[in-house]
């Protein structure tokens, strides 16, 4: 019996072993592929060390060439923004019926259901119910594709941000921008291919891990800067005149080229010489792209860049910068609204205590600049091939916390939206339960979200991989489904 089993195994193994080469093999792999049974072939991008950011072909024709992600750090409540729950208004003050069934709080005991802290009203031609917290963004709903049923597997900010930005809750995995630029390179040869724009108040909770390269080569990491803080060491050292700097560069080039002569054909050495040339170009092009003085006053006004609130004005300028960056060929821009914890709900959307009061402040900072950015991209035709994603790490509870007027963390159902290239609009996908607590229809995982994002960039999430510590790594780990339902 045992021997027969072995013989059968060997035969099957032999058959599969030769299947790849023979004609029968072609027929078999086609059969398997048509039934979706064949694991996707890994397609590691071929990166030229001399110009690692040169544009590379996607796997198939993309809908989007570039991406802007607006990341609302601190967990922006779905219930105060886009997930309208009339039941929550009706039954405010009553206990959540499912409270006994595995309610996962983060900070401690929760009280009763609490009505949305901002009024909802129909907006756009579609009449989508959105709240008065973000009225200007709400006006644009006809262009949006909402996902109301996104879920996370953590209710802690740092891991949650990691999960949204990198597909893993732990630190050390490449961010979606790093994967995108690893796959596609950049269309700009004098700006970083992936830029992270932290909030004027500071970096988000999991900081650089949001835009880190993980185990990908460091060249694919996001370069963090914004209108408040330029790229580190971008300018010539203080007190060094231009002519001196130039002379030093010349001598460096002379030494490097002589040295290169002993190693002709060595790409690493040549790449390093080239990197100094790119750095020199960046020293010119970054100040240019961050100079907003040539933007018309009407546009500055649209964004709120002259607001008397320095945080709002700062964020508005970062939004303007985001547009200029994608306009100049940057592949991936991740723009943050909200910083690290400066006290509960003070620096970001973490409204545990006094949600209404704090959200009113944060909403004023977020709403006008982001609405203006979307309008601006649209009016310049950039929407045709730019994917715009509005995200946060998780949602908030339908209840108030005991003894507080704010909501606890909720990873079981929250809202993000996509707009721009390649998605259905107006469209709302997925649904949470009657209180907006848990996703109950078309539940979406973070992996599905990432698979869809890569798909819009013309990339098969199962094929885009990097070999690390014995594993062919992917943004989507071993999960992910492209949300075909939301594709235009």
């Amino acid at each position: 019996m045992r021997e027969a089993y072995h013989a059968a195994m060997l035969n099957r193994r032999n058959f599969l072993g030769s299947a790849g080469s023979g004609l029968s093999g072609i027929a078999l792999s086609q059969l398997l592929a048509s039934h979706g049974l064949l694991a996707a072939e890994s397609k590691r991008p071929i990166v030229d060390p001399l110009s690692p950011n040169a544009p590379r072909e996607p796997h198939f024709r993309p809908k989007a060439k570039r991406v802007i992600v607006v990341f609302c750090s601190g967990a922006l409540s779905q219930l105060e923004t886009f997930d309208y729950k009339p039941e929550l208004v009706k039954r405010a003050g009553q206990p959540l019926p499912s409270m006994a069934e595995g309610f996962k709080s983060f900070q401690g005991e929760n009280g009763n259901l609490a009505a949305p802290q901002f009024e909802f009203r129909p907006r756009g031609d579609v009449g989508k119910m959105t709240s008065d917290l973000l009225p200007r963004i709400g006006e644009l709903v006809d262009d949006f594709c909402f996902i109301h049923s996104l879920t996370s597997k953590t209710n802690t900010h740092g891991p949650g941000e990691n999960f949204m930005s990198t597909g893993f809750t732990l630190d050390g995995f490449p961010s979606m921008g790093a994967w995108s630029t690893y796959a596609l390179g950049s269309e700009s040869d004098n700006l970083p291919s992936f830029v992270a724009l932290p909030d004027p108040r500071g970096v988000p909770q999991s900081s650089v891990n949001n835009w880190g390269p993980g185990f990908l080569p460091a060249v694919f990491q996001g370069t963090p800067f914004n209108m408040q803080k330029p790229i580190g060491n971008l300018s010539t050292p203080a007190g060094v005149p231009q002519a001196t700097d130039q002379a030093a560069r010349q001598y460096l080039k002379f030494l490097n080229e002589r040295h290169q002569g002993n190693f002709s054909g060595d790409t690493e050495l040549a790449a390093r010489i080239a990197s100094y040339e790119l750095a020199a170009r960046m020293q010119l092009s970054v100040p240019e792209v961050t100079d907003l003085s040539s933007e018309p006053a009407s546009l500055r006004k649209l964004y709120g860049a002259d607001s008397s609130d320095p945080v709002k004005a700062g964020f508005a300028k970062n939004c303007m910068l985001a547009r200029k960056l994608v306009e100049n060929g940057v592949r991936f821009v991740q723009l943050f609204n909200g910083a690290y914890a400066m006290g509960e709900g003070v620096g970001n959307w973490d409204g545990h205590r006094q949600l209404k009061k704090q959200y009113a402040l944060h909403g004023e900072i977020l709403d006008q600049p982001v609405a203006a950015l979307i309008r601006d991209l649209k009016s310049r035709g950039l929407f045709e091939d730019t994917l715009f994603a509005f995200v946060t790490e998780f949602g908030r509870m339908p209840t108030f916390q005991k003894g507080a007027s704010g909501r606890d963390h909720n990873p079981d159902g929250f809202t993000v939206f996509l707009t721009g290239a390649g998605v259905k609009a107006p469209y709302s996908f997925g649904r949470t339960d009657e209180f907006g607590h848990r996703a109950v229809e078309n539940v979406v995982t973070m992996h599905d979200f990432h698979a869809t994002l890569l798909h819009l960039l013309g990339l098969n999430h199962e094929s885009l991989s990097f070999y690390h510590n014995g594993i062919e790594r992917r943004l989507t780990d071993v999960h992910g489904r492209v949300l075909a339902e939301i594709l235009a």
């Binding site: 630190d171 185990f215 580190g232 002519a243 001196t244 990197s275 960046m282 690290y340």
Partner: protein
């Protein structure tokens, strides 16, 4: 790791030798490093480049950039200020904290307390040193079996423009002057020996003299710290 071996017969042979020689790692190392293959020149040959530019067959030792820590340590060593104290509490590459949860802002100005070997710097999860972190230094919270190696414009900006390198260039200049005096040619010759372990060629000396005469010795030192010859193992 995980790929097919490039020289399977050689591996077999080495394994057998290892067993035959009484499992002595020392003998195995001696066998490898005294072999003709190991001792051949690292200079690229056009025929080799044609057949195997990616060096899969290990026909030469490619020039390799030093890791982050080795670059920082080397700069301090060459400028003459490296504090080689072993053990004890480390030093911080980050500014002091004022927020109610710890926030890490990389230091921009460094003093003698920070001039120890980089292995003694406090490692912080998720946060990197503001200058050398971009040289593929892995995150402190991670297991990294093998570092990636990449070349980026941020590395160039950090080495060419940072306060750290400017300051070290000045310290290196001071060292050169104190050890050789005011003669520019002597300074260049000593500087080349410290950074490259060799004397300058005539053209390098001439161009260096011009740079120093017109723009000062620290600029010359700044260039040496940025040169490929300094940063790469040949």
């Amino acid at each position: 790791m995980g790929g097919r071996p490039s020289h399977p017969e050689l591996l077999e042979w080495l394994a057998q030798k290892f067993v035959d020689n009484g499992w002595s790692i020392k003998k195995l190392h001696r066998l490898i490093v005294t072999s003709k293959a190991y001792r051949q020149s690292g200079k690229p040959r056009s025929k080799g480049l044609e057949v195997d530019a990616g060096n899969r067959l290990l026909w030469r030792f490619r020039p390799r950039r030093l890791e982050a820590e080795a670059i920082r340590d080397s700069i301090l060593q060459v400028s003459g200020v490296l504090d080689r104290t072993m053990g004890g509490p480390g030093f911080s590459l980050f500014q002091e904290n004022t927020n109610y949860v710890r926030v890490y802002e990389p230091k921009e100005n460094f003093g003698p307390a920070d001039w120890r070997r980089m292995i003694y710097s406090h490692r912080v999860r998720m946060e990197q040193d503001g200058i050398f972190g971009v040289f593929d230094r892995p995150d402190a919270g991670l297991i990294c079996a093998r570092r990636t190696q990449s070349t980026t414009p941020l590395q160039a900006l950090n080495l060419f423009n940072s306060n750290f390198v400017s300051e070290q260039s000045k310290l290196f200049s001071k060292r050169l002057i104190s050890e050789t005096g005011e003669q520019v040619d002597d300074q260049i010759q000593l500087a080349f020996q410290y950074t490259f372990g060799r004397l300058p060629a005539e053209e390098e000396l001439n161009a260096g003299r011009k740079l120093i005469n017109e723009h000062g010795l620290p600029q010359f030192c700044r260039v040496l710290f940025n040169s490929n010859e300094f940063l790469f193992l040949p």
